[in-house]
Symmetry: C2
């Protein structure tokens, strides 16, 4: 498949997690591949001046309820992690390190990291927890550990996040289809229509 759509997500984002379980099938229905790109919403929030969703009065309470309700509606395993939200540098670095050589496997690693955080309550912001998820996934633990501390990998993540922000990415999930941006899992119906019709 060619001409991929781009799927931006943060490893700390519940809606990103839910979307990650839907995006490939959505794209495949239209013969499209998906380019998975983790971002760091912490960096974005410095620009937008916004706070993490669960920390906002009124909205945070609603969000916690909506995460669970949306997961139930879609039949997706989900629990609110004990520590939430988290900084997501460690999983993002592991992803981009693997993505250099094997994008398909990096995507599977992302699924494993998301599942560890949102189902098994593993705090993947801890480098050693991300290393453990990688090792259980079949990667060499020492290699993952080295990647998390590699300046080149850190710079690569920063570059990816900067590039995403330049394209206007401010949330998770955020999908770009042929230049057209869609924010939120609740735009997936519109993405489906856009891919079908070419826009309106």
């Amino acid at each position: 498949m060619s001409n991929p759509i781009t799927f931006y997500f943060d490893f700390s984002s519940p809606y990103g997690y839910l979307a990650s379980l839907k995006i490939d099938a959505l794209a495949a229905r239209h013969g499209r591949d998906v380019n998975w790109r983790p971002v760091l919403l912490g960096a974005v929030m410095k620009i937008t001046g916004t706070a993490p969703l669960p920390n906002i009065p009124l909205k945070g309470d609603y969000a916690r309820r909506d995460f669970l309700r949306s997961a139930r509606l879609h039949g997706i395993d989900f629990r609110l992690p004990s520590v939430f939200p988290i900084a997501s540098q460690a999983p993002a670095r592991a992803f981009y390190w693997l993505d250099q050589t094997d994008p398909a496997r990096a995507r599977q690693l992302a699924a494993a990291l998301y599942r560890a955080y949102f189902v098994d309550d593993v705090n993947i912001s801890n480098p050693e927890d991300t290393v453990a998820v990688g090792a259980a996934f079949g990667l060499d633990a020492d290699a993952v550990r080295a990647a998390l501390n590699d300046t080149a990998v850190k710079d690569m993540v920063k570059g990816e996040v900067d590039a995403a922000i330049k394209l206007g990415v401010f949330g998770s999930p955020y999908v770009i289809v042929d230049g057209e941006p869609f924010w939120g899992m609740d735009r997936f119906d519109q993405i489906d229509q856009w891919l079908q019709t070419g826009g309106w």
Copy 2:
């Protein structure tokens, strides 16, 4: 019809406007009436510490694009007003004043005010513009003007907004169905399912 669902909206909210053209039909499909309740998001934002959507870097640009795209998708007349966002005390006061004696007509007035702002580019934050919309709608201009300056009406609006905030309302549209809250027009599909099934 009885056992209404409650529809909270701000007269300055594009998504509230779009939702106002859909909510009655959605409720009617399930034999339910709609209790229309304007709120003042300016008061809410003091609590949530958030800024008006169009003023947020990155997110504001996306929102302006999404308003138009969503309106086109739903086949709804919409233009971004010259002055946006606005304080919405004047239209909210006109609404609640009429709602005391004739809720059905107040709902029609709300539709006329929304249309004036989002189709005809009338700045309804100006009391005299809200008076003019009311007069064109068939109300007595002097009576509307007096209502906008009536301390009892002002207090009624404050009371309604305070009551909404106590229930957790932080956005527009915000719908409560049998105690269950739904934020955003993109939750209308879930509202439909909730009304159908009683929840999940």
